[in-house]
Symmetry: C2
Subunit: 546 residues, 2 copies
Amino acid sequence: MDGLMQEVPLTLVHAFERCERLFGRGGIITARADGTRQRTSYAEWADRTRRLGGGLDALGLSADARVGTFGWNTACHLEVYFAAPCTGRVLHTLNIRLFGEQVVYIANHAEDEVIFCDRSLLPALWPLIDDMKTVRNVVVMDDSGDAGTGPEVPDDARIVDYEALVAASAPTEWRVDDERRAAAMCYTSGTTGNPKGVVYSHRSSLLHAMGVLVADGAGLSERDIVLPIVPMFHANAWGLAHAGVLCGATQVMPGPDLSPAAIARLIAEEHVTISGGVPTIWLGLLPLIDSGEADISSLRTVLCGGSAVPRTLLESYHRHGVWIHHAWGMTETSPVASMAQVKRSLGPLTEEQEIELRLTQGLPMPLVDSRIVTPGTTDALPWDGTSSGELQVRGPWIARDYYRLEGSSESPLTADGWLRTGDVATIDPEGYIRLVDRTKDLVKSGGEWISSVELENAIMGHPDVVEAAVVGVPHPKWDERPLACVVVRPGATIDREELRAFLASRVAKWWLPDDVVVIDAVPKTSVGKFDKKVLRDRFRDHQLPS
Amino acid sequence: MDGLMQEVPLTLVHAFERCERLFGRGGIITARADGTRQRTSYAEWADRTRRLGGGLDALGLSADARVGTFGWNTACHLEVYFAAPCTGRVLHTLNIRLFGEQVVYIANHAEDEVIFCDRSLLPALWPLIDDMKTVRNVVVMDDSGDAGTGPEVPDDARIVDYEALVAASAPTEWRVDDERRAAAMCYTSGTTGNPKGVVYSHRSSLLHAMGVLVADGAGLSERDIVLPIVPMFHANAWGLAHAGVLCGATQVMPGPDLSPAAIARLIAEEHVTISGGVPTIWLGLLPLIDSGEADISSLRTVLCGGSAVPRTLLESYHRHGVWIHHAWGMTETSPVASMAQVKRSLGPLTEEQEIELRLTQGLPMPLVDSRIVTPGTTDALPWDGTSSGELQVRGPWIARDYYRLEGSSESPLTADGWLRTGDVATIDPEGYIRLVDRTKDLVKSGGEWISSVELENAIMGHPDVVEAAVVGVPHPKWDERPLACVVVRPGATIDREELRAFLASRVAKWWLPDDVVVIDAVPKTSVGKFDKKVLRDRFRDHQLPS
């Protein structure tokens, strides 16, 4: 027997029209390159977005065209964010920090028909344009400000001025009536292989926005002034842009200047109540807060994710009266999959206990399920806080496949339909997730798994070790065995026996590294994470002592 | 182009399993008839609910059986609330306050196969049992407490003991994989015609629960201790029961004693943070708060709806440090369709302005759309705060039809798919809804509508008038004209000319009542609302002065 409720699709059109009707007085504040701030009411934004919808038609885009963007967080970007999906097209945010050849690969793979590009970013994009086979136009959004200090715009027939396009177009009626229709896509910037495209639906985008609004999520409200520092080209700005429109929160868009001083000014002058960004952002701001130069008294919370929040960072902000709200997710999870809420039902906690919980990856969001399994299987492991396995998630805003790789061997799903995240985690009896490693960084020894990250943490406890990375190297009997690559304090030395003796009381005997090599520095990726692939390649043929 | 996100259905199974996995330490506190409190952890509740699922199979219920309940708010009721829908069956909450013949009509119309009945309510239900043609068993839930003071249970083969059923059954796996499947039903207790059944789906119930969790909704959180005074048999306890399970809030179930003293004790002793109930409940509690006998310092807010919140009530609670959060909805809207949030974007408000906004029916919830139309048409009226028309709503938790009346002339939808609420409202430019009347109480004069409620309010401003009800009576030229039925102060008199003179400066000329009759009292319905149907019948042939 079926319910008798209305068949109203869950689409971003609803979020847009809700904002247009109810929150016209609210709006968006954009910091421009010349230091001025542009204030756009939601009423203006809605009118401009509807005109832009007409402009997309005028550009001759196909019915489900991929509409690329190459831009900072601005009000204009938020216009494209809704005009593309609400006309049935697919917003495709390109990551401005990738190498040119990756941007070209992604635009060609998605078959973008147009790219909306900030004027300040044209020098990076324009040289690639001839390699982008399907891109017919570049629409230039002027993020430079009234001073008009941006780079010169090439004199080329493919260039379209954003303001002229909006001004010349009539407002359009939106046309999406299927909640499963694609709304947006974002390519993962994986460290191996080609980037892969995640395709969000209207349903997943709206439900994810609802998740950002729930009290135990970010609790975003019309009363908030939200500063999304996390880029709109990076996993939907963690859903803040969509959720901000859905609830009518004022959005402060930081534009191109993400320096600590610029962020501090925005928070203080716009009375920001909630912000979101990676740990690096909050680390950068800390000296200004400590010295009293930055006033963060308006902040009620800060969302932090993308990589693990260091304890000292959390403690420092707490001392300044702000709890950092730790979130976890990935492009494939829209991205917010879990958040570190502190449960009242745990009873009174000491500050230390609360900090411990806030440092975890938290509890799965409403509508999201989580589990850990033995890597390579679908065998669920117990939630005992010690068993570690691959973290897998399931839910209406979790990806099931990649664009134009559907059904291939690259499917991100297990046979029973859960997303393989590639993260290794424990889950405690209360459901708190703690990441301990990446599956590809595990060392498989005799059928058992050794966590390279836990072993590294133990090694970095040695007073002479500055940094350490553990990789698995082939072993004839055990398949793989751990090799410790360490950077030592200037003037110090360390050898295999000394390190093993130091570790003997700290890790299981079979975890002890078979060998130690001293290196100058641990190679890092472009975002500052350990690049163990380089080390694995370098030490592939390393002869372990027998 | 479609999205590539997981096809995970939105079902109450998710809410149940989330609570079972993450919130086992939280739970339910039930006040029993003997004054004791039963404490059930969510871990126990989840185990008992799964066993009850097995029990439903053991009772031989069909795959989509309607599972009736006739009970107070208790932990047992919350077990049936999930065991029925999560086994694919349909929870059917019977309103214990209806007349016996209405209960019989509803149980027969829904074809309930079983009724779960509180022991304290057996004396009301059991005499009806032989008239309920499809009910094979009555399962008795003992809400009386350890003292066992409840009424005697008949010695009859159709009686099943709830605890015995749960104890004898093995936990079951849930089996719902279609979000459009019926989860629950509730009959409207309309004042005219037979009660009509609204059938909620899993999708609508879960989305509605999400709405209760969003910050600008009730903002319900795991950290809350929620006291649903609104009955679980009345429009899903406003979604608090489902939402409480979804987010793991502690639920305080008041059982049969809804006296002000009992409510006050629960709030103070269980440190309740949020509660929901009709204005009568909060009016009843007020003397205890004023006198200092009731301690409500733990409350962060109070949800109030079902009928309009009187200004004095809102002001009184505000003086005691608690804002009443005004909500509007009906059985057909799950029920929460709008809430009176105060927008920050309106700028700084005086206390008087804030009170005015909090007294409105508020803004539509996320995922819900609202409009006003000229009654009987689909012509939208402007949001100018003065144009009044029928309030209509649309959204995924709004009904499209009634059970076994599908497609009939009783369809609650307009031709373009909006629910006709029967309420007459204005909507101001900010989206705030203000109810002004019921459509059936409008007086249609010469093609224009006169609001009987507004006219009554004006009449009741006359110093000699105690109460007034306005009804339309047939008129040969104008179709209908207003007749004022007034109750006057003892010893006072009032006539047509005096009242019209009094009103002349207060309402439009064509709104002036054509005649006045003095009556002893305005007839009231069982829930205390003006029963104008009685007056319309009585004065149908009243001769208006020409």
